[in-house]
Amino acid sequence: MTFIKEFAAGLAFLARRLAQALLVMLVVLIIAFAVRTNLGDPLREIVGEAVPEAQREQLRHELGLDAPWPVQLARYIGGALHGDLGTSTIYKKPTLEVVLAKFPASFELVLGASLIVLLLSLPAGVYCAVRPRALGARLILGLSVLGISIPVFLTGIFLITIFSVWLGWLPAFGRGETVHLGGWETGLLTLSGLRHLILPALTLSSIMLPLFIRLVRGAMLDELGHDYVRTARAKGAAPLRVWFGHALRNALLPLVAVGGLQVGTLIAYTLLTETVFQWPGMGFLFVEAVTRADIPLITTYLVFVGLLFVVTNTIVDILSLMLDPRISLEGAR
């Protein structure tokens, strides 16, 4: 009986969370529509500048661009549902196609950076929590203040100066050779692609790493104060097992929740990193679209980033609910 009740509550939570996500996406689409109609001229996207004014009027009427705005908004959202968000004025192609073609590059950059952050922040954070007074822990925390203080684009510039300009070890720009796997253009399968990934991934991780070390440390400090840690130690469990097997496991819950909230920040830093390394991802595309005033491309990027943001946050919410039996479904609103 309780199981069915729990299950129903779970479904209700899921439904509410999805409704919220849809609502946010609707707001994003309305903003994108407002930007598009006020800043851009949809007609110009289609026919260019060369058409005389009388013909423009007629075309505008035929295409329904003189319709009242609620009608146009409904059409825009209808189009968005079918994947039609307009035509890029730079590339003369559907904007969604242009943005999606750049997605693998950004994704692989974030993946590389996340791996570095994960592999370094967990041991470093745990170490700083269990040996707070040790010289190494103080050094790590001191360096993390330094890491937080160096803007991500400067880290990139300095890494390029050292490893590309002075030492000539690693390439500074672009993705190198890529391989097409179905619709996915990957740089992870060629040596050149991997070499090109090293510096950008290091740069992006440099700004997230200090933050996550502090998060892991904080969460671990909380867990280490609990009775179960003392019990485990009293039972004779080895320290490493208690730290990583017991405490870190529980510390991961708040980490997922807080780390998930950093998606927006991660997107902003990815944009900066891509600009420094001319990495052909979505952020670099966005900066290009802004410089050349490609309004449809700008709005499509906004909608896509909004979607990424909403999807990640929804997944994080559901994950933290599934991971943590202590969060009651009744209270989760």
């Binding site: 203040v145 330094l146 203080s149 803007p151 400067l154 927006g264 902003a268 900066l272 005033a293």
Partner: protein, 307 residues
């Protein structure tokens, strides 16, 4: 307390800071030097970098004095326009600091009253303010600022973006980060409002406005100062990032971020100093402010830290 005793206490305090927190002392000195140099820029800068008529293209891209091929009249060399880099950095630091401080003033002007109100009144109002702060923070302030300035640039062109760069940057960065002040003020107000002196003031017939303004606000200033310190570092970094993307200060009125960007385009031609020197100044500024903020947080109540 007589004068001699108070002096020993003050000297003891200074010594304690230097011995126990050498990092903070160094940071304070570094920040002081940078801030004073920036404020006195019009007096101490060798040239006026905004005066385009005084520039000579023949002077462009000269290296710093300790590098071969330099011109002794330019200590740190020149940039691509033939501008004296030292002067440009002094004025640029001035702009970076100005934008950072003004943006934080806006953040505090919005955040502190909202936080006081939410913490003091509580109930539904508190819910609304806290929810709004949560939502605003989850949106990533840097991303919001990038989008806002990108749209402004797309709408009105790069020309008007350059003309209104300072007020725009101040407003965009200022509006984006008020929640840190609101959260801190709210938490501190809740603690203070429960204390006896507030009840005593109310029993004496003080109005709510009087209690909040004259009694609670002065008592929650220290955590707010800590937030302000870290926020200034954040605002300076945001301004630099936006200028680096070409969404901030124009080349004719460069901040540190603009200088880094304009030098970055030329770095592979060997003119590293246009990027590296302003970059080091920016890092020095940010590190010193952040270390000061951390030291202040440790010195004042650590439980009221915002994140």
């Amino acid at each position: 307390m007589n004068e001699a005793a108070s002096r020993t206490i003050r000297e003891g305090w200074l010594r304690a800071v230097i011995v126990e927190r050498p990092g903070a002392a160094v940071a304070a000195i570094l920040f002081g030097l940078i801030a004073i140099a920036a404020m006195l820029a019009p007096l101490i800068a060798p040239t006026n970098p905004f005066d385009l008529a005084g520039l000579d293209v023949l002077d462009a891209e000269l290296p710093p004095r300790w590098v071969q091929g330099s011109d002794p009249s330019f200590l740190l060399g020149t940039d691509a326009q033939g501008r004296d880099l030292l002067s440009a950095i002094l004025y640029g630091t001035r702009i970076s600091l100005l934008v950072g401080v003004l943006a934080v003033v806006i953040q505090a002007t919005i955040g502190v009253p909202l936080g006081l109100l939410a913490g003091y009144v509580g109930g539904r109002l508190d819910n609304v303010v806290s929810r709004a702060a949560d939502i605003q923070l989850s949106l990533s302030t840097l991303m919001m600022a990038i989008i806002a300035l990108a749209l402004f640039r797309a709408a009105l062109g790069g020309e008007s973006l350059s003309r209104y760069a300072v007020p725009l940057l101040v407003v965009v960065i200022g509006l984006a980060e008020w929640p840190y002040f609101a959260r801190t003020a709210r938490a501190a107000t809740q603690v203070e409002a429960a204390k006896d002196y507030v009840r005593a003031a109310r029993a004496l017939g003080a109005s709510d406005l009087g209690i909040v303004g004259r009694h609670i606000l002065p008592n929650i200033l220290s955590p707010l100062i800590v937030v302000a310190t870290t926020q200034i570092a954040g605002a300076i970094m945001a301004e630099a990032a936006l200028s680096f993307l070409g969404l901030g200060m124009p080349v004719t009125k460069p901040s540190l971020g603009t200088l880094i960007r304009s030098g970055y385009d030329l770095m592979f031609a060997g003119t590293w100093w246009i990027t590296v020197i302003p970059g080091l100044v920016l890092i020095g500024l940010l590190v010193s402010v952040n270390v000061l903020g951390d030291a202040l947080r440790d010195a004042l109540d650590p439980r009221l830290s915002p994140r």
